[in-house]
């Protein structure tokens, strides 16, 4: 079912990604990954890798299985088949719980606590006990600064705007300096300035802290901000490469066009097995 030419080996790494070839270790490796929800097979035998220390974008339309894939990596998804290694351990291993930060699509914070009280509690779960009081304080202060909510630290989370609440949720995930950050549509519904700021933060986290980021989005224009992309559709990975390589290989100007090209090619292959050519007109 793997119908993309270059895989994890990344034979067509472009110049800007090649300057970091020392970071070739994979943070996440999947082989024939499947997931079933109810009667429906949501993930259909995926093979992919997420390189360590880079930002990998998981792009695809709503309902294509992005969230299920992320939940499988975090270890909260039931009925997962195939192999899935995360930071050298099988996904869901108890050892991983303090090493992964996960931000769900809807902000998961306590609306009846202030921003700081939310972070204080989650920090106490990560660093319990009196001995870590100082670490907790430092981690909470840094997380609040990271997401630029210092002026709202003592406001109830429920009184904040949608974008501010999702930043509180992000701050919680940043608390433990996780090795892997899994962010489910973190920029949806945010204004362009905030979106740019958040992407700058993601890049800063990857560069300064060596964190691996897996960021999902259904907005294709965010693709250009990632080091690497996983293009997903209907429970399958359409392509796995750098944005430059995807554009170049499909001879398109944007990743969105490349995506459409790949979808059409896959549809054509499904309709006429054996013929390699795809219709040229883009889908409406």
């Amino acid at each position: 079912m793997v119908n993309y030419p270059t895989g994890a080996t990344g034979a067509t790494e472009p110049a800007h990604a090649a300057d970091n070839t020392t970071d070739t270790a994979a943070a996440v490796t999947a082989h024939s990954l499947t997931a079933v929800r109810g009667e429906r097979t949501v993930l259909r035998g995926l093979d992919f890798t997420v390189p360590a220390g880079r930002i990998t974008g998981l792009l695809g339309p709503s309902g294509c299985g992005k969230t299920t894939l992320m939940r499988a990596i975090v270890g909260t998804q039931a009925k997962v088949g195939g192999t899935l290694q995360v930071l050298g351990r099988p996904a869901g291993d108890p050892d991983l719980r303090s090493r992964i930060g996960y931000v769900t699509q809807d902000p998961s914070v306590y609306d009846d606590l202030t921003v700081r009280q939310n972070l204080d509690y989650f920090a106490a779960v990560l660093y319990p006990g009196r001995a870590h009081r100082h670490d907790r304080r430092t981690a909470v202060d840094r997380a609040i600064t990271d997401v630029d909510l210092t002026s709202h630290a003592d406001a109830l989370a429920g009184r904040l705007s949608g974008g501010q609440r999702s930043r509180v949720s992000l701050a919680v995930a940043l608390l433990g300096t996780p090795e892997l950050l899994v962010l489910d549509e973190p920029t949806v519904g945010l204004d362009p300035v905030l979106r740019r700021d958040l992407w700058n933060l993601f890049h800063q986290i990857a560069a300064d802290r060596g964190t691996t980021l897996l960021v999902s989005s259904h907005v294709m224009d965010e693709a250009e901000r990632c080091h690497r992309l996983l293009l997903m559709r209907e429970g399958e990975i359409l392509a796995e490469d750098t944005p430059e390589a995807l554009r170049h290989r499909n001879d398109t100007a944007t990743v969105e066009e490349a995506f459409l090209h790949l979808v059409d090619a896959a549809a054509a292959r499904a309709a006429h097995p054996g013929t390699g050519h795809a219709p040229e007109e883009p889908r409406s």
Binding site: Q77, G92, S98, Y102, T104, D112, L113, Y121, A124, V125
Partner: protein, 245 residues
């Protein structure tokens, strides 16, 4: 289990409540108001007030904690914070013990207020120690917390969670011996009441009401209520799944 995480969870639950003073006021004052009402409803028959008043001291904490816990844990499930916590290094036992601790503390305050009011101001005639009344009330509160936690797993919305109150609590209320002694019910109903925990809560209260010392029956009643609370808490823990569909 990690005691620091348990305490942090209890502190967090109490902190959430502190932002909601109206709920606290309702939880603490409504039982007192009911007892006050009851005292003057039975103005002419103080014996009846003794019986029903003592039983109610055991029933109020159970009902209040059931409601509060089922809604609070349901909110934890629907807001995604439960999934987040279970993806973090938090034990299920830490979470449940944290809730039980926080609501247990609240139940102690509620029971102390209600018991104090009934015994010292409304003339509830208790032969045994008021401390034993408080102990049973606390065990009842734990049972309520446990039941609330358990049913919240089967409620998809707060609307459904509230509907579980009549389903789970009312049958026990009817059969616990509050309205008529259990041995005078139809034999089938008496048999059912023998396996419902609230019956033992009310029996325990009545033992304290009538006997100056700790009786064997009181110990049995207290142990049954405590055992049920632990059993249901364990069942509640089993409904917390790290991996969900």
């Amino acid at each position: 289990m990690n005691s620091a995480r348990t305490l942090a969870t209890a502190a967090r639950v109490l902190r959430q409540l502190r932002h909601d003073p109206r709920s606290i006021a309702l939880m603490l004052l409504v039982p007192c108001l009911m007892l006050f009402l009851l005292r003057y409803v039975f103005d002419g028959s103080p014996g009846t007030f003794d019986n029903i008043g003592a039983s109610l001291l055991g029933i109020f904490p159970l009902i209040t904690m059931f409601l509060v816990t089922s809604i609070a844990t349901l909110r934890e499930r629907t807001s995604g914070t439960l999934e987040r916590l279970l993806a973090m290094p938090l034990g299920k036992g830490d979470l449940i013990a944290g809730y039980a601790l926080a609501f247990g503390l609240l139940a102690v305050i509620q029971s102390a207020l209600a018991t104090g009011l009934a015994v010292w101001f409304l003339g509830l005639d208790v032969i045994g120690s008021p401390w034993l009344l408080l102990l049973v009330a606390l065990l009842d509160a734990l049972l309520g917390t446990a039941l609330g936690l358990f049913v919240s797993a089967f409620a998809a919305s707060e609307f459904q969670a509230v509907q579980f109150m009549p389903a789970v609590i009312f049958p026990q209320l009817l059969l616990c011996g509050l309205f008529t002694p259990r041995d005078r019910m139809a034999p089938a109903l008496e048999a059912i009441s023998d396996v419902l925990p609230m019956s033992y809560a009310v029996d325990g209260m009545n033992e304290v009401l009538r006997h100056p010392e700790i009786t064997g029956d009181f110990v049995r009643d207290a142990l049954v209520v405590a055992g049920c609370a632990v059993l249901v808490l364990a069942l509640g823990a089993a409904t917390l799944r790290r991996r969900t569909a």
